[in-house]
Structure formats: structure tokens, C-alpha cells
Amino acid sequence: MTRTGGNAPPVRGSAGGSRMSSNRPIRLFRNLNAKISAIPMIATALVVFVGGTVWTIIYSFTNSKLLPRAKFVGLDQYERLWNSNKWLISIENLFIFGICSLIFSFIIGFVLAALLDQKIRFEDTFRSIFLFPFALSFIVTGLVWQWLLNPDFGIQSVVRSLGWESFDFDPLYNANIVIYGILIAALWQGTGLVMCLMLAGLRGIDEDIWKAARVDGIPMWKTYLFIVIPMMRPVFITAVVIIASGIVRVYDLVVAQTSGGPGIASEVPAKYVYDAMFLSQNLGQGFAASTMMLLSVAIVVIPWAYLEFGGRKSHG
């Protein structure tokens, strides 16, 4: 009852325009009910997200230790951050991990989806198998792969016991390639979801397009590459957002698999922030690092979001 009653005035106003001014109603008051009911959420977003972010940035200029203290020290925390080997390694790792994870989960996810899309038998079973790792937490995934990649009783020892004595596969204990060991676990867990998103996208492609392509004699791989993929753009964007957010906050996987080791070779920014805030009891340093994380995400996301969503506003 209240809903219809509340909705009525603006509709009447815009339709008739008789009693109020004849102009269109002010945009702010359009759909007033929805806006009022969104106020709690808006307030939460402003206070918790924006407020928290601003607070963090401000306190990153202080020398807060275990507890926040408003004693400002300028850019000291940032200077220390960028002089820290651990931070530089973290950034490098995130870069490698991010790019590889993005490329491989896309390729593997899409190929799996395309294969599943061939109207094969037991599609449901395969889909469940591929998606299943996603149901596990990062900690479980990390521990499983820690064991699998352990040279003393994992893949390496199995292959060696089969007779290939010189087989070497111990990514988690080799500082140069440890990040790829983590990547393997991340891909194992994440590609199932990407596959499902892609599969949904593929199913959304009209049958007629396939028929038309076949009539024109276009080979299947070309149809995928030049017709289907461009049509799946919205799905790709969704997938990018989901994967990218996972990349930036990768933390638990590293903790479970290597806890940053060997040495500090598999540190990531999120772990740096956590360590600085709670292990070193140096909040200022942790805030500075998280501000840098925010900044780097903003540099990538804002121009992209502007290009992607900014243009659509005009006709939306």
C-alpha cells in the first residue's frame, strides 16, 4: 500500500504537470522512495569505506606504532616503504602473479568452456569437477598445494619413485620460481569460476550466429576468435573484475603455502600490510603500504572504468 502511495506523486506530477510547476521534477527527487531506502547503505559506504580510507591515508603520515597516534612525520613512512626490499619484492611478485594469473585463467577458462560447449556427454559432471576447487577456501587450497609441491613427499618424490631420479620440481623451495608455485595453486582454484562465467557467455550467443557462420564456411576457431569473443565482451569484463580483485588481495594463499618464504621471496603487498600492522606493531608503515595499494589500484581502475562505463551514461 505505502509503496503505491509513495510512488504516486512524482508520476502524477510528471504526467500532468498541472499543479506544480510545469517543468520536469528535480532529478534529485525522482524516485524518492528508493533513494530514502538507500540512505543507510549510502551512509555505511561513506562512513566505513570512504571514511575509513581517508582516515587510513591521514594516519599513514604519522608515526603510529601499535595504536594510532596523531603525530605527523611527513613522508617518512613512504620513504621507508620504498627503501624496503621486502616491499619491492612484494610489488614485483604481485606484478608477475597478476599478469600470469589474468592471462592463464582467461585462456584456460575459455578453452575449458569452449570444450564443454561442444554438447559433450556428462557436461554437468565435468562442470562440477572444474568448479569444485572454487568451493575450497584459499587456506585449504594452499595447504594441499604445499604438500603436493613439497619435494620430500609431493609430486617430485612420486616422479622420482617412478624411476626418473633426476626429476626436480620444488617451486616452493626455490626463491626464483616460488611465485609460480603459488600461481599454480591460484589457477587450480580460480579457473573453474572463470570457465563457468565464460560458459554462461557462450550459451548466451544466439544459435543463428553459429548457423550463419557455418553457412558462410568460416572455420570454427575463426568463429570463436572473431565473432564469439567480441560478442562476449560483458562477460569478459565481469571476469576481469572478479580475477583482478582476487589478485590484489592475494594473501591467505601465500600464508598457507609459504608464509612468504623461502626468505622473503614470495611476499605480497597484502601480507606486507598485515605484517607491518600486527607483527611489527607499526601501524603507520602498514597504512602507508595500504595507501600505495589503493593508489596503484586507482591508477589502473579509474581510467579503465571511465572508458568502460563513462560513455554509457549518455544513453542510460
Binding site: L67, N85, P262, Y274, F278, L279, Q281, N282
Partner: protein, 411 residues
């Protein structure tokens, strides 16, 4: 007869509330989860339950590095536990300053802790502005070398009696397919190794200049270069060691898979759980057998302020219990650590603990890293040492330079 039972029952129900008021649940968080540690903490729980209160065990696995953040965020986040372990020293300094812990000064004066706690430095690190905020429960020293007799027998060399002999025995150990030195991957273990090597190779004076005087010049000196050279040696010895936790590394020594491990005296508890006998199955060399000094760090319990006066009472009871003689003996025998009071009788102590007690009695003590450096600086050392120990491409000179830089900016 029936009337009497009823009366008794009535009396019981009336009396119960008073009894129940005493039985207060107290959640105690700690990071003692390995076999020997769990056995030791059970002694506390047993003694506390015997007073009519209830010990609710809040063990957090993963070592201090994992557990401390959880504890701190619970205390600062307004969900305090009844009591919590920290290493005494500066880890909880700011929490005390913020007034989050119960002041134990009255209890301490009543029970005369000042006179019974030995060495006095233990109580000093619990003290801020003349008030006492924590209960030291044991003394742990990290400067111990643990050697597996089995590994050396297999290699056909006598069990070393100091660091140099140990290094000399490395080729024989490698020949016999042993890992010369067991070392876990956690950062603090590498730093512990450095601390021990620093005292053994560098000597006490250098240690004092760097750690107490925070003298960066001493940290750059050629004497310190020798320490880093020894670290590079140790890195070579430990390169085949693929374990994470310290007790996994200790297990390599117990099984004879590794020649030795540099670890604190808490490793003792593991040998005990495995039914090994000191001097027969394994040897221990305090100060790596070179300079027999031990640093007197250890564990202490802090009591966050709670609203319920009953719980506060139970907290004080627990605090008093932890320093009492019988509990000190029972706990420390299981834990393999040294008691905080000089007036208890440790008849049952084994060879290694006796060595420790002798050193303590002789006063060859140093403050621990947790007592002289802030958590921030300690973490920087941890990071540097673990990076150095796991990455052979870093030269000893580079590591020394970076070490000196941290010392220079230490707080």
C-alpha cells in the same frame, strides 16, 4: 532421614551460589601447541582448575608471529580474554601505556615478587613507571645448539663439543646423507640463529655494543664480518632443510636425519616427548659451546582489564598461582625452561636444564632481543636474516651493511 536429605539438598542449593561465584571461567590465550608445550600448559590448567576456577584453553597455532596479532586485535578490539601470553619485553608496551592491562603491583608486593624472582630483569620488563603488569613464568634462552648423537654416529665422527668442531664435521655428515643443520623457514628462526652465532663468534662485548649500545659502527666492524661469514657457512649447511616449523626441524634432529639445530631451550620439551635422554641420545651446547652465555627472555602472562569483578579476582588468583613454587616446578620441567625463582628445587632436571641453571647461577646472563628492541626493529631483523639464509645470492658483506643500517635506525 528423608527430612535430613531434604535439608541437605536445601543447604546445598543455598551454598551453591557462593561456590559457583568462585568458579569463574577464564579464557587464556597462548601459542604453546607443540607436544612438549601442550604438556606444560596443561600443568597450569590443572593447578588453576584445582582452585575451583575453570581454565578455558585458547591455544593459537602457528607460533608467536601468528598468535600475537590475534591477541592484540582482540584486546584493542574490545573482546579481551582472561589472560594472555606474550614474551616479556616490549611487545605489549603500548597496550600497557593505553591502560588495557590489570595492575598487579599490590599482589606482587603482597607476595614479595621482587625478592623471589630471579634474575630481577624479568620483573623489570613487566614494570612500567613502577607498576607491575605481567607475570613472568619461565626463562627461555635461544642460544642452544642441539646435536643428534645418531647422526654423528652414522657419519662416523665424534659428537662435537663446540661450533668449530661442528663445522669441521659437516663434510662427514654430508657424506652420510645427513642435513648438517636443520632450520625451519619461519623468519624468527633465522634471526634466532643469528643471535646465537653472534654471541658465539662475535663475543659478549660486541654483542653488548650492538644490542645494548645500538652502535652501528660496531655492527660494521670486521669482528661482525666474521659473524656474517659464519652465517654464510650456516646457510650452506642448512640449504637442504625443507621444513616450516621449528618442531619439525627439531624432529629432524631427533630422528637423526639432521646433525643439529640451533634452537632455544624449548626444543628440550620435544626431546622429552620423544623419550630421548640428554647426553645419551642428544647433546646440548649453550652458547654453541663457545661463550656460555644465555639471554633471559621468556614468556609472561598479561591480564587484560575485564568488567566483571569476579573475573578480576580469578585473574589475580591465576597470577599468584603462576609464580607459586609447585606450579613453577611442574610447569618448567615439562616445558624444558628454567624457573623464574631461584629458591625452587629442580631435582628432576636433566643435564641440559642443569647446564642452564648453572649458567644462571653464575650470572652469565644477557637481556633478550625482545627486551632490547621494539617489535618493529625485531621484525626488520627477522626479514633480513630469513632473506639472507634462504637466498644464496646475497653476500655476507651486503647483509652486514643492511644489518648495520637497521641497528642505526633501531628503536
Amino acid at each position: 532421614m528423608r527430612f535430613h536429605t531434604r535439608l541437605l539438598a536445601l543447604a546445598a542449593t543455598v551454598a551453591m551460589p557462593f561456590g559457583a561465584a568462585q568458579a569463574t571461567d577464564l579464557e587464556v590465550t597462548h601459542w604453546w601447541t607443540s607436544g612438549g608445550e601442550a604438556a606444560a600448559v596443561a600443568e597450569f590448567a590443572k593447578a588453576f582448575d584445582a582452585t575451583g576456577n575453570k581454565w578455558v584453553d585458547g591455544a593459537i597455532a602457528g607460533g608467536g608471529g601468528t598468535a600475537r596479532p590475534v591477541m592484540i586485535s582482540r584486546i584493542t578490539g574490545g573482546d579481551p580474554m582472561g589472560a594472555t601470553q606474550f614474551n616479556h619485553g616490549r611487545q605489549a608496551e603500548e597496550l600497557i601505556e593505553a591502560g588495557l592491562f590489570v595492575d598487579l603491583t599490590e599482589l606482587a608486593e603482597k607476595e614479595n615478587w621482587k625478592d623471589v624472582v630471579n634474575p630481577p630483569s624479568l620483573l623489570d620488563s613487566c614494570t612500567l613507571d613502577g607498576r607491575i603488569y605481567c607475570v613472568p613464568v619461565n626463562i627461555h634462552s635461544p642460544q642452544w645448539l642441539w646435536l643428534s648423537h645418531k647422526a654423528f654416529e652414522d657419519a662416523g665422527v665424534p659428537v662435537p663439543t663446540n661450533w668449530d668442531e661442528y663445522v669441521a664435521a659437516v663434510p662427514a655428515l654430508v657424506e652420510a646423507g645427513k642435513v648438517p643443520l636443520a632450520l625451519g623457514n619461519q623468519p624468527w628462526q633465522s634471526n634466532l640463529l643469528f643471535g646465537a652465532v653472534q654471541i658465539a663468534i662475535g663475543g659478549i662485548d660486541l654483542w653488548k655494543q650492538v644490542n645494548l649500545g645500538k652502535d652501528a659502527e660496531a655492527a660494521r666492524s670486521p669482528e661482525m664480518a666474521k659473524v656474517f661469514q659464519a652465517m654464510a657457512n650456516a646457510r650452506e649447511m642448512a640449504k637442504e632443510s625443507n621444513v616450516q616449523d621449528w618442531n619439525q626441524a627439531t624432529n629432524m634432529v631427533i630422528t637423526g636425519e639432521a646433525g643439529g639445530q640451533i634452537m632455544g631451550d624449548w626444543a628440550q620439551g620435544e626431546f622429552q616427548v620423544a623419550n630421548q635422554v640428554a647426553g645419551q641420545d642428544y647433546s646440548c651446547l649453550p652458547g654453541l659451546g663457545v661463550h656460555e652465555y644465555i639471554s633471559t627472555g621468556g614468556d609472561a602472562f598479561y591480564f587484560p582489564k575485564l568488567d566483571d569483578p569476579e573475573q578480576t579476582k580469578a585473574q589475580l588468583e591465576l597470577a599468584s598461582l603462576m609464580v607459586s613454587k609447585p606450579v613453577q616446578v611442574a610447569f618448567n620441567l615439562k616445558k624444558g625452561s628454567l624457573p623464574i625463582r631461584g629458591d625452587v628445587d629442580l631435582e628432576a632436571a636433566n643435564d641440559c636444564m642443569k647446564k642452564g641453571l648453572e649458567i644462571l647461577a653464575a650470572g652469565r646472563m644477557l637481556p633478550s632481543g625482545d627486551q632490547v628492541f621494539s617489535a618493529d626493529t625485531q621484525t626488520q631483523f627477522n626479514d633480513l636474516m630469513v632473506e639472507f639464509m634462504k637466498d644464496p645470492s646475497i653476500s655476507a658483506e651486503d647483509a652486514q651493511k643492511r644489518y648495520a643500517d637497521i641497528v642505526e635506525n633501531a628503536d
